[in-house]
Every structure is written in structure tokens, then in C-alpha cells.
């Protein structure tokens, strides 16, 4: 029962992506093509989603806890660092190149469309490649973790991986 909501939510998300036109790379690229035959549709997908979620988010987080978990798991980081900007830009180049982002890529891959399947396999590769890059190049894992209860750090940023 507990995971039926997750499944239904994924199903609804897929319906929204498909109805909104996000599973059509030509429409996504058409939105990003400001110098060409611009298709503003994607702005309406984003607008509709942000309006709906903004309203519902504010109503939901007033509750003490979610219906099926002990507490809310929301991202807490507020710092702006180079990883955020470079990561966004790297993702954006891939998004503009193929017209797929992760959700629509997965939804379209389930239709067994060859480009979407290739995209998702490569995306999995990219996620694992990042793991190796993070470990070897950025050497992140060898640094000591910030202590959680250090009084000097109260109010400072908390190093919790945000779940976006």
C-alpha cells in the first residue's frame, strides 16, 4: 500500500510529461531555440507545474509530518557554489543536445524508442562517471565530514546532499 502512492505518483508524473509535450525532443529543443521557430509550450508546462506545486507545497508543509513518513525530507542547503552552476550548465548542454531531461528520457525509454533508450543508458553511465570523478578528481571522500553538533556551526550551512 505504502509504495502504491509512489507508483501512482510516477504514473501521474509521466502523464503530465506526455500531455505537456516533454517526451517530444523537438518541442523541448523548439522551446530552447529562441533564434529560430520558437515554441513557448515548455514555459506553460513549467508554469503549470510551479503554480500547482507552489500552492500545494505551502498547504502540505504546514502539516506536522507527511502521511506515510515520520518527517519531511527537504533540501536544506542554501549555499551557491561552482558545482551547482557547472552541474546545471553541464546538464543544460545535454538537455539542449538531445531534447531529453531525466524524467522524459525515462518515460520515453519505456516506449522502447531507440534514442531514448540510448539516452538513458548513457545517463546511467554519466551518473556513475560522476561518482568516479567526485572520488578521484575532486577527492571529496577523503575530506573529513563537518561535525554535526559543533556549536560554531549552528546556523551555518548543513552538508546534507539535497535530493533534487
Amino acid at each position: 500500500m505504502k509504495y502504491l502512492v509512489s507508483f501512482g505518483s510516477g504514473l501521474l508524473f509521466a502523464l503530465g510529461l506526455v500531455v505537456g509535450g516533454m517526451t517530444q525532443p523537438g518541442k523541448v529543443v523548439g522551446f530552447l531555440d529562441f533564434a529560430g521557430d520558437w515554441d513557448p509550450s515548455l514555459a506553460f508546462v513549467m508554469g503549470g507545474a510551479v503554480v500547482a506545486y507552489s500552492v500545494l507545497y505551502r498547504l502540505i508543509v504546514k502539516k506536522k509530518r507527511p502521511l506515510m513518513e515520520a518527517k519531511f525530507h527537504l533540501p536544506t542547503r542554501t549555499d551557491l557554489d561552482w558545482r551547482l552552476i557547472a552541474g546545471g550548465a553541464t546538464f543544460g548542454v545535454g538537455w539542449g543536445l538531445a531534447g531529453y531531461c531525466p524524467g522524459p528520457g525515462l518515460t520515453a525509454a519505456a516506449t522502447l524508442s531507440t534514442p531514448a533508450v540510448v539516452f538513458v543508458i548513457a545517463m546511467i553511465g554519466g551518473m556513475f562517471l560522476f561518482g568516479a570523478f567526485d572520488k578521484v578528481v575532486l577527492n571529496k571522500r577523503s575530506k573529513p565530514q563537518e561535525p554535526e553538533q559543533n556549536p560554531d556551526l549552528v546556523g551555518a550551512r548543513v552538508q546534507v546532499p539535497s535530493e533534487n
Binding site: 519505456a110 554519466g126 562517471l129
Partner: protein
């Protein structure tokens, strides 16, 4: 603007927002697809099932909808599989480096007025538009 679909796209967006709200209401989670999918690939204890169920729903939705509305998968672009594979690598790598994608930062993050998400969204929108300009207008549209 031959493909412009304002009504369908707004309805699609509302459904996406509603889906993300359901995840928050029941599970207290942000519906960020890249993060959820990453957690399926490298599961942590107690964090796998809800993620797998969500991704399962996303996939089941695509598989079911292509039979009902094949025309909603129709508008494609002219890209080689090598370009598509490169795009997938960049998307996988970039969403982990930047902690999110269009759903997590673009929809959930901006709705929560997260500065990080506004910056990430501006970054991927700009990079996407520059990429499309280069591909469509400098390279002739086929890569």
C-alpha cells in the same frame, strides 16, 4: 510556432505539480527525478522501495501512453545516436554535480523559492539555449 500547445502543456504542468505534491504529502519527499533515479541505481537502506516504485510508475506511464497517444511522442529531432549518447552522459554527470534537474530544481525548488534552484535553473536554461543555438544555427541542425 506550428507545434505550440499552450492548453495541453498547462494541463501537463498542473499534473506534474500535482504528482510532486502527492510525493510530498505522503512521503515528505521532493519529486526530483535525477535524485530519485540515482537512488535506485545506488540504493541506501530503507530508501529504495519508494524510489523504485516512483520510477516504475514513470516507466509504466510511458509504456501505456505510447499505445493510447502515440502522437504525443511524435515531434523528434535529427540527432545521431552518438550525439544522443553524449547528451545522456552530460545529463547524468551534470545532474549529480548540480544536485538536480528540471523537476527537482525547476519545479520543486523554484516553487519553494530556493535560491540554489533558481541559479541551477538559470544555468541549465542558458546552457540549453546556447547549445540549441550552436546546433541549429551554426551547425545546421543535424549533429
Amino acid at each position: 510556432m506550428e507545434n505550440f500547445t499552450p492548453i495541453a502543456s498547462t494541463i501537463g504542468g498542473l499534473l506534474i505539480g500535482l504528482s510532486a505534491a502527492l510525493m510530498l504529502l505522503f512521503h515528505g519527499r521532493i519529486a526530483g527525478i535525477s535524485g530519485i533515479f540515482r537512488g535506485v541505481l545506488q540504493p541506501k537502506k530503507g530508501e529504495f522501495a519508494w524510489r523504485a516504485a516512483f520510477i516504475g510508475g514513470l516507466l509504466a506511464g510511458g509504456a501505456a501512453l505510447v499505445f493510447m497517444t502515440p502522437e504525443l511522442f511524435a515531434v523528434s529531432i535529427d540527432r545521431s545516436l552518438v550525439a544522443v549518447a553524449a547528451a545522456g552522459l552530460l545529463v547524468g554527470f551534470g545532474t549529480r554535480l548540480g544536485n538536480g534537474c528540471t523537476s527537482g530544481h525547476g519545479v520543486c525548488g523554484m516553487s519553494r523559492l530556493s535560491a540554489r534552484s533558481f541559479v541551477a535553473t538559470a544555468s541549465f536554461m542558458t546552457a540549453g539555449a546556447i547549445t540549441v543555438f550552436i546546433v541549429n544555427h551554426l551547425l545546421g541542425g543535424a549533429v
